[in-house]
Subunit: 321 residues, 5 copies
């Protein structure tokens, strides 16, 4: 589905939306370029666009099927860039990954979006920056990449908070965060797969001399790349922290087990005293003088109670209870 | 065993199958190439083919013996490419690895297959694409590589499902998935050894200028390489996840142990109360006034029962029972 | 906020502080350069400075927002270097990270500081080294980098002491250093993210020929880089040691658990002897000759006591008690 | 000790063994080369050989002392290649590492063997391949490298079988394979140190243009390198598998412990029933009506037995027994 | 403190020790060079030397302060090489690290030693090798590097023995080697930090064309580098082995715990039999026929004893006792 199609000239948007045919014509005018925004196109829909703009069969396949890696592919007449969108959904603690395919040529830029994600704000923000728009379709690519990588930083922030919560659980009481740690690790891996490969590709974008990325844009792409590296470092750190949290958690579980065992044992030991003493005075010997004492029974009860209290006090002091 | 042998010219298959001698002749005609398909040849069979097409002794050895790494080897007159086939057999959770050796020269392509795997569909699909076939034997290599790497993606999908099942087992109850996790790890390693080295080799295929891979095919091979990288990333993630699952599993086992220990101890503590009280009233002191009370016995029974119920309630509340 | 602004000529500071406008003028004189020190500027403040000195929009953004990675970015007319400050706060065992942005051009150097950190000592020390100051703004960059990396070494020293304390806890008694180990690991990771990337960037600074870094300064920057590498190696070792400490700690916990269990069991075994014997002589058989013996009771008590002492001695000897 | 010394010309061995002096002369004839085989030479023995053939002092030292890394060292007039031999001794599960030093010059090849390993079969096999021998001393180097790397593959096969046995032990019953896993890991590391560095060195051998390795041999060395890479991949996988086996084993031990603990506890619980009931009817209250019932005793025995059987059945059902 | 200062000419030492001033003069003669040996100099002492030989301020600082990384730094007129000395002190199982700074110029070599280590033997050995000494100051650098790396090999040997001892402890009985393993790991990391970075630097020394390292010395330095690589490989393996030993140790501890628990439980089960039976015959039912039997008491004792022995035999057979 085509969601927006407009021609840009000298940094400004020409009035009105264009039909696909008109877009093709506009793209062939000098000094102007067309920005065509498409959402989850069917194969047939995108075939029509590809025919109009002369896109390569393989790029078409990629754009329609989604589930690509982030990449920058150079074709003879255009550049095909695949970017992943990433959104951290906090209540479920999952990372939602979408995809934007961008076809950049000197006279057009086609953006193909898959997943629940809106490119309209990017377009509006860019339309307020004629100095950038003047640099042509490359500026559109920059604006999208910049926007997406800022979203990565937000997602990383969301992870950060959950990692800190998990830490509190690991070193707090009464919870078993093992499953949560594991699930977070899974999401971090997915986030990493969606974002990190883009780094190399962006570096390439600046270093090689692509006609569609004029020199003044290089610094802008370098800036995006720099933000992406911060994301990469943080992701790597999340993995490290979650790994350590998993192991620390195991230690805490063992520690807890030991404490429970000591507590149990302490009570068992305390209960063993009256049982043992009672056993002794339950023997049936004929000659057991204590049994005949007038205050034998309360005396024994008192001794037992004292012994129990003494044990309780010792266990308390040594931290077993 | 030769399974299919045909000559192709101008993107189309010439009528009829060729004998080995006729194939040699056809390969020497201009503008035509021969595609010879062989399955698990004996040394003698393949010696005959090698003699006909002038293959190098070492390549022959590799083709007959199988168990090679994926590789691209350049000889003076031909290219020898070894590709691994991979199929995930779900019920047994094993990866079945086979091998296809492809000898590509400007005038012929020989495919040698080892293992339970059919190349006929690749041939049929390619025969419906004269535009690709026109590029010569390199197109055959592409078609096979493309087909195999798509199978890798399917295998990765199979792994994915089993990894998710294992996760349910780890965090579910009553099962010990340790052995399953370990076995999956073993298979993932085998899958990795069979597929990942191909990446580098494919990259090489595009970067160097091989006569048998004309330029229009570069984008196709790059596409295959790209799919392969997705497989690599997923395999790497499987390894990470299985590693973490192994450790999470250990924690869960310790956790379970602690819970069992607490439950047992709680019951032992409850049982200790009547034993202790009964011991006390089993003592043989002459002067134990309670023993002579009319309702001493039911009173003690009641007290004991109340104490036991109180303990039960407390353990229930603190989660030990 | 501008904290200091002065012109330097021939290795010496000219008298008096300059206003922003005068600074711009001074920067355009030959043979002189201006050093402008800013602390946590607002966007508006820094826009004024950027306009005066012609800084790029993206660099401005970075300077105002902080939270950048360490980096060296070349713009057409100046170099933008981001350095992280790191201070180890020992009582809390956290690493406090700040940031200094340095804009270096042949005729000016602007330092933008974020966080609780003072650059005045650097300025004073450098003003006592006219031989370095003569090399121009690059010397200021060197002086700051040198100062910061020396702070890293101090921070690493602080970590070192805490790692050694943690070791004593792991192999000492009665403490659970798991949380401390984990927290230290988190701080080490943050320290690493703040410092290690600088290494590559510094290397670059010497290898490429930047106009603002004259050749005589190369050896100085190489010296800073070398110190940084020592920091990197130590950080890497901290991570290794903390990883091992986490695992060693788990082993110690298990070990402790085993010892506690043995101790408990030993006492249970000792208590089981009188209980068992008392049970036997508590039986109500009519014909139990021992019960009628005159010294049956003290004899049994003596035997029980002897058995208990014997067990105690054996457990003591085998290390269970 | 010199074990064999012969001159080769045009791919064939000249009749008779040569003395050291005659070997030196033969090496100076055109179109011929000498192959001198030495076994664990003393310093003096090898000094004589070095003097005859002009070997460098450092190479001599290496050849006599053994315990080198695999390496290829280029000297002005010859190439010094150190190769490790590896044999897996299955009953002891150790890897036996030896060493072959090969000095290759255009007119001679000297092989120095350390350890229990026979090069004679290599010589005999090569003497049946005049086409290879014609390429000169480089062919001897190839024949040895090829032979050794094939031995590596055999050793890897031996490891493979033991790793599979260890897996059966980990997931089987009643054994503690921890020590075996650890020892295997040690041997794998030794195997790796002996073989993997050779890979890089071999790659070098083909890429650089050494006079003693004529072009037709390149494909042969590439073949050896390829086999070596398969060994490397398998070694890496062994390490991974043994690491995972160590962790899986720990989980199995914990699992076993939990099962044992449950079993013990179940029996303790069953035994607690009669003890508790007997305690109650052992109390000395004057008014305990049950005590006077005619069938009180068998009734209580029956109830206790029923309760025990019921517990046994429940524990059986829940898998604790 | 200057410990030795002499001039060398044509591979031989000139008679007599030189004062610092005379050394400066001698260094300016053609064909001669001066070797100045200094031990832990004060800043003032070394300033004098630096002034005499024209050393750079930064190099002076490094030489006086020690605690550098191993490195090779090229200054305009000399090369500054920092080497670490390493000695394994076996009883304490610590690695003692010192430092040697070497300043190499065409006409002088200054060695600055920090730590308990003697360079005199190196000087004496080198003075017996005029062929090497003739190559100039580079030969001195070689001699020192060679000597130090041989010490590394000895240190690695010392580690090897302790690692093997630790293994015996892990799989032996009654010891807890956790702390020892951890401490060894710490020392291995320190050893690694002191030695491994030298590898790269040495490689550099041969590859670049330094005037002070004439070509004939290249093979000698390559030899040192090769020995260093063996050290690196062994260190890496120590780390691997100690990591695995730590984990194996944990498993052994768990295993031991399980065995102890089974042993304890077996005895508890055996003791439960007499307690239970005695409890039953301690009940006060009026109608318990067994109590009146003449041989009831010895019969019950016999039955209990038989049951205990039977249990003992079963536990023995199943390995619990």
């Amino acid at each position: 589905m085509i969601v927006d199609c407009a021609a840009y000239e000298g940094g400004r948007r020409r009035e009105g939306e264009l039909s696909l045919e008109r877009a093709g014509e506009a793209a062939s005018e000098r000094g102007a370029f067309v920005w065509l925004g498409v959402v989850e196109p069917t194969e047939a829909e995108f075939q029509a666009i590809a025919a109009e703009f002369g896109l390569h069969e393989l790029a078409v396949e990629d754009a329609v099927r989604a589930h690509q890696r982030p990449k920058v592919e150079e074709y003879d007449e255009f550049l095909h860039v695949v970017l992943k969108t990433a959104r951290y959904v906090d209540p479920e603690e999952v990372i939602e990954v979408g995809e934007v395919s961008v076809f950049v040529a000197p006279s057009f830029v086609i953006t193909v979006r898959h997943g629940d994600f809106d490119l309209a704000p990017v377009r509006h923000r860019l339309e307020r920056r004629p100095d950038l728009l003047e640099e042509g379709p490359g500026a559109v690519l920059y604006a999208i990449a910049d926007h997406l990588v800022d979203r990565y930083l937000e997602a990383a922030h969301g992870f950060d908070e959950d990692v800190r919560e998990v830490e509190l659980q690991v070193f707090g009481e009464g919870q078993n965060p093992t499953e949560r740690i594991y699930k977070l690790e899974r999401e971090v891996l997915e986030f990493q797969a969606a974002t990190v490969p883009l780094g190399e590709e962006l570096e390439d974008l600046c270093r090689r001399d692509y006609a569609v990325i004029p020199e003044p844009l290089h610094e802008y792409f370098r800036d995006v790349e720099d933000h992406l590296r911060r994301v990469s470092t943080r992701i790597e750190n999340f993995r490290q922290l979650l790994d350590s949290a998993l192991e620390a958690n195991l230690t805490q579980v063992s520690m807890q087990q030991n404490e429970d065992m000591r507590k149990i044992s302490a009570w068992v030991a305390i209960a063993a005293v009256p049982t043992m003493v009672a056993g002794i005075y339950g023997m049936n010997f004929e000659h057991m003088p204590e049994l005949e004492w007038r205050f034998g029974y309360p005396l024994v009860l008192g001794i037992v109670l004292t012994a129990c209290l003494y044990l309780y006090w010792r266990f308390k002091r040594s931290g077993w209870l």
